[in-house]
Amino acid sequence: MEALKQELKESIIEQLNLEDFTPQDIEDNDALFGDGLGLDSIDALELIVMMDKDYGIKLTDPDQGREIFTSITVLADYIAQHRTK
């Protein structure tokens, strides 16, 4: 699980162009949206694409995305349970 969390932090920084962040800057329970990393709605769409492309998980319900993208911990738990890649 720790390896997956690290992988997610690196992917998020690279794919969302968070130039000023390193994986060490992101705590496992930091909020990804709002006051946390400050991600926006386009970032949310990028994360949905990343879930499909990297882990074979298709998210179609926006409310589901809101819950899953709460933090790295929540996201890693969901991926570990549902991944097909």
Binding site: L16, N17, L18, E19, D20, G38, I42, D43, L45, E46, V49, D52, K53
Partner: protein, 212 residues
Amino acid sequence: MSNKNYYISTYCSLQNGALFVNGKATLEMDRSLPFIVLAKTIYKETGINYPKFFKMDNLSKLAFLTAEFLLEHSALSEKDVQKMGIVLSNKSASLDTDRKHQESISDDKNYYPSPATFVYTLPNIGIGEISIRHQIKGENAFFVFNTFNAKGLFQYAASLLASKKSNHVLCGWVDVDKEEYKSYFYIVSKEGMYPHTEEVINQLYINNEWKP
């Protein structure tokens, strides 16, 4: 053709690794640097703090940086800037980013278009980025011309000013296609150094200076 009582108050260009403000080189770098590296270096070296910059495509980065230095050197108040009109133009529209989007959707078996790339497949997004950064709410337009068109820019800016929709207009050219890039922005106001004429607009674009 001239626009009586209006002047070009400030102008700025970024090309061949150099940033010019009012004709003077204020930043000179290796002209062989890829634009993406050049843009990041300018951002870092000049102390700009706007993380959203890194999410922009190259066209928007060029527009953003040029506007940043233009407005920094202008005498306009914050209130004036927020009411300013914007009229920009280029030749390549958003082709540079359109190609990247095309690549991401060309393989049916690996079809993962990037939303962050897709939102930049319109050239006027650069105006949006400038407007968000500086809270500009004036009228704006983006034109795609075959070549730099001083007459088109002049007429549209003159119309905005004559209709009293804006007291100041940021005008210019911002073009990116692969490793080719060039920007040239200027502000038209009631006070300024150079007459607002097609001839002056052209001369500043071509020579980076005006010789009457």
